[in-house]
């Protein structure tokens, strides 16, 4: 690996540079997907506010670029791929504003340094966190995602949009989570060909059962998205990109189940038993007495 670093960087192979290089290397288990926020040639106040708010939601795993970029993603994605690679991000959120496409938001993903898929939205009726002035959550809180509408289950485009939103908002992949940290809720509702995105904060209170009573307060950002253009990944690419390493697949446990009382039940298979020579409990009364047979002739 030493020599590979050398050719990668030239002379700098130690210390910080080595650590940075190691960090960028592919891992078997990917837990974090960084988001890259960029602006196009021209932006509106709306879009800029939305980008700031989305950045605040995705905070620890997000990079924000402040300069304007001369990029048109649907025409030429090479610049985007380069930037995502440089900043080590798997997702990008690109905001722009033109006469033809006002308040334009493009959310896309990158796989193996190439564009994977992206979707273009028109944003309206934005209410920022600042405007709503509700209680906010700590940076990096993992949200609960609620999808309202059967389009998310049956329509291809909505399914893809749901997938992208899950990737964007899910945060760090964890195996266990603190029950008190379930504070953020983001809901996506299909209404009138639009997707209404609402963010809430939960208020958990004690209840008679195991789970608490929930109440929601507005937090923001709240915005409505109109689907514009969409580029879905090919099925081959999807297959390679979503392939899970065998070590990470859920281990199927066979033969274990729980009965109605909650006991762990399993089946043990015994081989064929010879009932004649089973070792049973010995009782003195059943012991065969020595016969006093002097006539027994053992020699034949």
């Amino acid at each position: 690996m030493e020599k590979k670093i050398r050719s990668h960087f030239g002379k700098r192979t130690k210390g910080v540079h080595r650590r940075r290089y190691k960090k960028k290397q592919p891992k078997v288990n990917e837990t974090v997907k960084n988001v890259l926020f960029l602006k196009g040639r021209k932006t509106s106040e709306n879009i800029r506010d939305l980008l700031t708010d989305l950045y605040l939601i995705t905070k620890p795993n997000a990079h924000k670029l402040t300069r304007k970029n001369d990029i048109v993603p649907f025409d030429d994605e090479t610049s985007l791929e380069f930037l995502c690679n440089k900043n080590d991000c798997g997702l990008f959120v690109f905001g722009s504003h033109t006469k033809k496409r006002p308040n334009n938001l493009i959310v896309g993903r990158v796989y193996d340094n190439h564009l994977y898929d992206m979707v273009e939205f028109g944003v309206d009726s934005l209410k920022t966190i600042h405007q709503i002035k509700g209680e906010t959550c700590v940076d990096g809180t993992k949200p609960l995602l609620i999808f309202n509408g059967d389009g998310f289950q049956f329509e291809e485009e909505y399914k893809m949009i749901k997938n992208i939103f899950i990737d964007l908002f899910k945060g760090v992949v964890v195996q266990s989570i603190l029950l008190t940290s379930l504070q953020k809720v983001i809901s996506f509702t299909i209404y009138n060909d639009q997707i209404l995105v609402r963010t809430y904060k939960t208020q958990l209170s004690k209840s008679s059962g195991k789970s608490p009573n929930v109440d929601l307060t507005d937090m923001g950002p709240n915005f409505n998205l109109t689907k514009r253009r969409i580029q879905i990944a090919s099925s081959d690419l999807t297959k390679t990109a979503t392939w899970v390493h065998p070590s990470l697949r859920p281990k199927k446990v066979k033969n274990v189940s729980r009965n109605k009382l909650g006991d762990k039940v399993g089946r043990i298979h015994m081989g064929k038993q010879n009932y004649n020579s089973i070792a049973t409990r010995k009782m003195k009364a059943f012991k065969k007495k020595k016969t006093n047979n002097r006539n027994n002739n053992y020699k034949k």
Partner: protein, 328 residues
């Protein structure tokens, strides 16, 4: 007093964790999400003001159902609080990078595995008895360095006839080992790549060959060495035959100084008066005041030497210039 209504309200509040609607949601607890397929709102059925309320209500119910499921998962109590173990997520999300290829086992690793040899962590510093301090275990200034021995005992069985200088022997052995190490390195690079030398390997092999005392010298260094060699004869190279194409280096002219006290006082007087004349009667109209002032102000910044001395500190343009380069 009708208490039933109050009780009903209280009960509802206490049991709001059991919403009335039927649970037909699709859950993915690993990603903490749920999909409500039953939700549908038509534009004509609803007023704009009520829309927010409807969404909030639906979200609230669905959140409640989702939380119910999450809270019924396996929990574990820890210092930070109560953790719940999330199952494997069912939504298939694409990766960012390809799955890394498993590293090929090196020859040593294979051998170590067979023999059961494990890597023992050794300390970087070792105590050097001779100097009485702690020195690194390896390297040029290593502890207990054999090469820096000042006395080497002659062993009884060694014969004085064919006796070789042990100090020289140590140095030569070291040189041999270095050459052998380099050869091994090159052999390993070739072997690891499958036995054939490729272009990309060439660079690595060149690097190994040019390491240590074989480091590549710059033209300036080579010129210096040549100059030294040319001079290193008894006559300082004056009468040596030069090869065709061998460069000639300008030797420094001996500076000539006037003696401190002149024999002829007149000459000294003349010289001093000349200097005085030059200083007092110099035509200042020859002086380019602008140039002089500018030079002073820039502190000689246009000069080559200044640029050379400050090359590293300056920023080279080209960061973030050009199309499509967003800057952080």
């Amino acid at each position: 007093m009708d208490v039933t209504a109050i009780l009903k309200r209280a009960k509802k509040k206490k049991n709001s964790h059991l919403p009335d609607k039927a649970d037909t949601l699709e859950y993915d607890l690993g990603s903490m999400l749920c999909i409500d397929g039953d939700f549908s709102v038509e534009k004509q059925d609803v007023q704009e003001e009520d829309l927010e309320e409807i969404i909030k209500k639906a979200t609230l119910e669905n959140t409640q159902l989702l939380l119910n499921k999450i809270f019924h998962l396996e929990t574990s109590s820890e210092e930070a609080g109560v953790f719940v173990k999330l199952p494997h997520p069912t939504t298939k999300l694409p990766r960012t990078k390809k799955v890394p290829q498993p590293k090929k086992e090196t020859r040593w690793e294979k051998f170590a595995k067979e023999r059961g040899i494990r890597n023992k962590k050794k300390s970087r510093l070792v105590y050097d008895e001779e100097h009485g301090d702690w020195r690194p275990r390896y390297g040029s200034h290593k502890a207990n360095n054999e090469i820096n021995q000042w006395i080497i005992e002659k062993k009884d069985h060694e014969d004085l006839k064919g006796y070789e200088d042990p100090f020289i022997k140590l140095k030569n052995d070291k040189k041999k080992r270095v050459i052998q190490q380099r050869a091994n390195q090159i052999q390993n690079t070739i072997r690891n790549e499958g036995g054939k030398i490729t272009k990309s390997m060439n660079k690595n092999i060149q690097g190994i060959l040019n390491s240590g005392h074989n480091k590549k010298k710059s033209k300036k260094q080579i010129d210096q060495i040549l100059q030294m060699t040319q001079r290193s004869t008894a006559s300082l190279g004056k009468f040596d035959k030069k090869l065709s194409g061998e460069p000639v280096f300008k030797s420094r002219q001996r500076r000539k100084f006037q003696p401190n006290i002149q024999e002829d006082a007149g000459i000294e007087r003349k010289r001093d008066l000349n200097i005085l004349d030059n200083v007092l009667t110099k035509d200042t109209s020859d002086l380019n005041l602008n140039k002089a002032v500018n030079r002073y102000l820039s502190m000689g910044r246009g000069s080559k030497k200044f640029r050379k001395n400050n090359a590293r500190q300056g920023r080279k343009g080209g960061r973030g210039r050009g199309r499509g380069r967003g800057r952080k």
